[in-house]
Structure formats: C-alpha cells, structure tokens
Assembly symmetry: C2
C-alpha cells in the first residue's frame, strides 16, 4: 500500500520527508558509523543534538529568557501529577477549567495533592462549549489555573487565552503545541506530549517560568521534579534519544514550512474547508459551539448512524485512515495536525461529498 | 564511515539486522501505508504488537503465570521511587544492598518513602567487591530487598542470586536483563531500562509478582502505580510505541540466536577473552574481585595513565568507539551487551595487544 492519509489522534502522521531522512541515516547518523538510537547520551554528539533541539524550540516558539525548556522521557499524563507537585508552592488549592475528558483526568489527579476548584465546567453544555468567562469562579488564592486549550475527543478549542490575572496559567498543549504562534509570556507552565504535532510518543515538552520552580511537595519523586531536569538540561536521566531526534527533524521541517505562522495558516485552512463541507451537508454534523470549534481535531457524526461502518471502510479503501471517532463518543473524527497536508483534507472532503451523494 | 564497534554503556549498540529491518519498514509498517511511529495506540495493529512483545518477553524469560510483564514509557530511574511507593505495603522499612553508584541512587531515592537498611556495603572494598553474605544484615521486617545485579560503572556483578528468604527480592536489571537465563520465581520485582540489552532508551520493562501489587502509598501518582499499568496491559497512557517496536525486533533477534542460553554463552565468551587479555598484560588492569567481575561492563585501566587519550584515539580510528570510562572513574570501559558481536571483542583484544606492544 502506498502512503495513506492518516487522521489518527496520536501517535499521528509525520511528514514524509522527516521519515525519509530518518530512514536514510538510520544506520549511520552524522557519519558516526552508528544509529542515533545507539549513541550514548553522555557524548558530545548527543549533547549537541539535545542542546540544538532545545534552542530550536526556543526559537520557533519565541520562548522568553525567563522560561526553561525541558524534554522529558515520559507521557504527558505524568504532568497531571507533576504540575501540582511542583507548582503548589505552599498553597493548598488550584483552579481547573473542566472542558472535557482530558481536563477531567488532569483535575482528578490533582485532587490527590490539593483542593481543586472547578473554575467553570462545560458539562451542562454537553462539553460542546465552555461557559462564558464572566461566569467563571477564579479563586484568588489558587496556586495556578489549569486548562486544556484543545480537547481532542470532543473537538473543543479555546481561540483566545483565558484571562486569569496574576495567577500562573498552566496548559496541557498536547494536541495544539506548535500548531500556531503563542504568547509564552502569558503562561506559567506549558506541557505537551510530542506525538501529535511535533514528533513521536514517549517524549514530552515542558516550558516553565523559572521563578515557579524549586518548591516541590516533600514526597515528590526526583524524576517528577522539574527543577532537577532544569538543572541538568534535560539530561538528568537517559533521555528518549530517538524521540528527541525525531522532534529535531520536525522542528527543522516546521521552520522550512515558514514556522508557526505558516503552520497556523495551514491548520486554519484545513479546518475551514472541512467545517464548510460539514455545514453544507445534510449527512454530516458537528455540534460544537462555533466559537470553540477545534482547528485540529474535528469530530463529526452521520445523521444515519447505520452508514458509519460503510463510510469508514470506503474511506480506508482509498487511503483515508484512522477516521473512527473516539470510543467514548463514536462517530467520525479527523485529526489534522501539522503534518497532515492540505491535499489529505481535500481528498477527505471530496470523498465525503461523493459518499453523501451516493447514499442520499 | 562504515558501521563501528560501539562499546557504549547505553544507549548501546543494536544488531545490524534489527536496524536494517527497522529501516526497511520505516515508512510502511505491516503494509499499513504508514510508519510504526504514526500508528495510533488504540488500533488493532498496535494492540497486537504490544501483546506480542509482552508474550515474547514471557516466552524468552520463562515468566511464570503469577507474574505480570509491563512495558512503561519512562526511564529506569523512575522505578527508584516506584518500587517503594508500590512495594512497601504498609511496612516502613526496606533492605538495600549498596554495591556501587546505581544502587546508591536507588537507596537514596527510597529514603524519601521509608527507612532504608543497608544490608551490606561495598564501600570499604572500594566497590570492587561485595561483602560476604554471611555478614549481611537482613532486616526480617523489611518490605523487600533491593539490589543491582550488575553495577555498570565499577563493573561488579553478582553471579548468584542473593539468598533473602521469604522477603521479596527486587532487582534493577537495566544492564543485565536478557543477557542470560534467570529464575524469575526467585524475584518479587525486576525492572530494567531497555536501552542496553534489548532495545532503545525511553522504555522500561517491569516483571512483578501479581500478589505484591495494589497497595500503593496514598500520594503515588497514577502513572507510578504498577497496578494501573497492569490493569491496562501497559496501554493506560500513550506507550513509547517505537521503542516497544524495537524491543519486539530485539526479542525476535534474541530468539533467532538461540534465546537466552545462546546470549549467556556469547556474553560469557566475550568476557572470558577480554579478561584473559587484561590479566595477561603488563599495561592493562582490572581490579574487581574475580568472583564479582562483570560479564558485560568491563572497566580497565592503563598503568601509564598518560597513554589513555592515545589508546582511545587509535581505537576510534579503527572503528572501536565509546571506550572511554565513566566520568567518575576514568580509564577505559568496554560494555559488551547482547548486540556486541564476538568479532568486535576480538578486534578490541587484537588492538589492545598491538597497542601494548607498540607502547612498551
């Protein structure tokens, strides 16, 4: 089978040229006569790679000097506990915006370590929207405010940054990192798994304001202490070196495309086209509030649910794969991260229109 | 540069045929039209891969039915905290054998969670040996006994299993896992990073007796709860899927070589040859107690320290690389994990003999 268009929610599609470069140098990286997978992490070549990936991350995301950039060999879920363990700083409560399944998992984990205040919950809105900011209940003594800028399952995305005053804003950007420019200075801490927009699974990125570190809860495991990783330039433990390498290739690819401005335009264009197709159809629907529709993970439903299996099978047959909705929601979901080319979305839309015509 | 012989302590050398297979299918795994790196972890193909890697691990290591096998997206250092968090089970103390730098890091981390009893320490022996078992101070009420079967830095290895009675034995097997057959039933828990003998960095293997799970300390992060990963077949969070895939290729390679019996013979033969060369030389020396010499990580020193840089440079020039000793010890270190072919060690020995002759 030739390369397919892979709409997976993550691990997600990678640019073919990134894969081709990885393939070409898989047995001999940088002329060392060995694979990047075999290079010791206490060697100059690996330390240079690590430093360069961090420097390029800073450049692409325009990270201010008072923030630290870390790459950690873990899953983004680890940060659900790491955030309260590191950021409570003597306080006993934290604010959480509850906007879907991922923010719920983050706040449930935080309850082990502090009092969790729900600033606002989308539950009564079926998680298809977010309550008006005027109705949010921010706690002045909260250690931080946590939110999930893009809920991949329900396809709900914030298109502006929450206004939380002086309290550090913390974001789980796993599904939106590197998909558009962001103003890092508005955040206390950002964490993100790399397996959607900027690499493969088993690695997470952390961007944290330096003054917030150094006050972990007493029982915090060493590996959960951001300060330790910061003091060691993400080389405290054996890093997930191959994943760091792939992120390096992704960052170079993003730069070649024109950086985050180009990524934002591409992702906006793909989303606009797909929602236009859905909204002009009698077969497909997306029920998310227009103000919160995700640019990158778009769930939609067929009015005739009996056609779903046929839709998925026919799509797969022409190379449009991983379109099945999340198991908790059903339906269809198209994730269109950075590496999904516009052509893939064009092909999906063409298929959707033909399928609707053939089945109406 | 052609492929070198890479004596790195880890990440370490991989068999060329494993790399060639990974390279060949890097853009199209199992005919799916995508890379294994791009396959969603909630799909049948990935779940089958994961199940197969676990099943093959059980087969190769002959894991009894009352043990669980887990693959976790983290570093082996995470287990320094995970072990006490999971295995204290209401007890307040744990036994640790202090045999070098790695066991010291494990016991220092455990001190955050319990009273640590040092069963025996090799410190007075310069960590070149281990005190006689007759002099060990095992604590009858310890929750477990932790040890490091192979200390990679000083090159000290246990060649028999410690006798600890009914108390669960816990081992950090990061540098010795899969290097020879082991009697799993003698252990309560085994953990190991995969980046030395059985894969790449960013993944760890856990083998744990099922009855020991389910009693974590109350503040344990969900991701540090072995029971959670056990209940979810190592798919609770997004797995380090590419690393799991490489471990699958390594397990298949180990089986093709003849399994762990063949690995043990290979590793024994390489070690015997190298120690023979060292012991019959006037230039090189290894000071580890003959009863505790490591089969797989061999540090040695040049009597004329001034020749070290020359030794390393000339070795590198003929494709024998990563021989520099650990920064805390200096000297030379040759790590000879599963994937180091006998031919590589033969070449190293030939070089050592020629170097000695040329510099005597």
């Amino acid at each position: 089978m030739p390369r397919v268009y892979n709409f997976s929610a993550g691990p997600a599609t990678l640019p073919e040229e990134v894969l081709l470069q990885a393939q070409e140098e898989l047995l001999n990286w940088h002329g060392l006569g060995m694979s990047i997978m075999e290079v010791g992490h206490r060697t100059n070549p690996y330390e240079e790679l690590s430093a360069q990936v961090i420097a390029t991350t800073r450049e692409v995301l325009k990270v201010p000097d008072n923030y630290q950039v870390l790459y950690l060999a873990n899953s983004s879920r680890a940060h659900f506990a790491m955030v309260p363990m590191n950021l409570l700083r003597g306080k006993t409560q934290a604010d959480y915006l509850h906007t879907g399944i991922w923010s719920k998992m983050a706040l449930d984990e935080a309850k082990r370590y502090c009092q969790v205040n729900i600033v606002a919950s989308g539950e009564n809105l079926g998680f298809n929207s977010v309550p008006e900011p005027a109705n949010w209940r921010l706690e002045p003594d909260a250690a931080y405010v946590h939110y999930t800028p893009n809920e991949t399952i329900s396809g709900v995305e914030f298109h502006t940054l929450p206004e939380v005053g002086e309290i550090p804003l913390v974001a789980d950007m796993t599904s939106s990192i590197m998909s558009q420019p962001i103003d890092i200075s508005r955040f206390g801490l950002i964490y993100a798994g790399t397996q959607k927009n900027m690499g493969i699974a088993g690695l997470s990125l952390v961007i944290v304001r330096k003054d917030l570190l150094g006050q972990v809860l007493p029982f915090t495991p060493t590996m959960y202490d951001y300060q330790v990783h910061s003091d060691n330039n993400s080389l405290y433990n054996t890093p997930a070196s191959f994943a760091v390498y792939i992120t390096g290739l992704m960052l170079a690819w993003i730069k070649r495309q024109g950086g985050l401005t180009a990524m934002a335009e591409l992702n906006q264009s793909k989303a606009r086209k797909l929602y236009h197709c859905i909204d002009n159809s009698k077969l497909y629907s997306n029920s998310v509030d227009l103000n919160y529709r995700s640019r990158i993970s778009v769930p939609f439903f067929l009015h005739n649910k009996g056609l779903e299996a046929k839709f998925l099978a026919e799509a797969r047959a022409i190379g449009l794969v991983a379109l099945k909705g999340h198991r908790t929601l059903g339906g269809i979901r198209a994730c269109m991260y950075n590496a999904m080319p516009e052509l893939g979305v064009d092909k999906l839309i063409e298929f959707m229109q033909q399928f609707e015509k053939a089945n109406s």
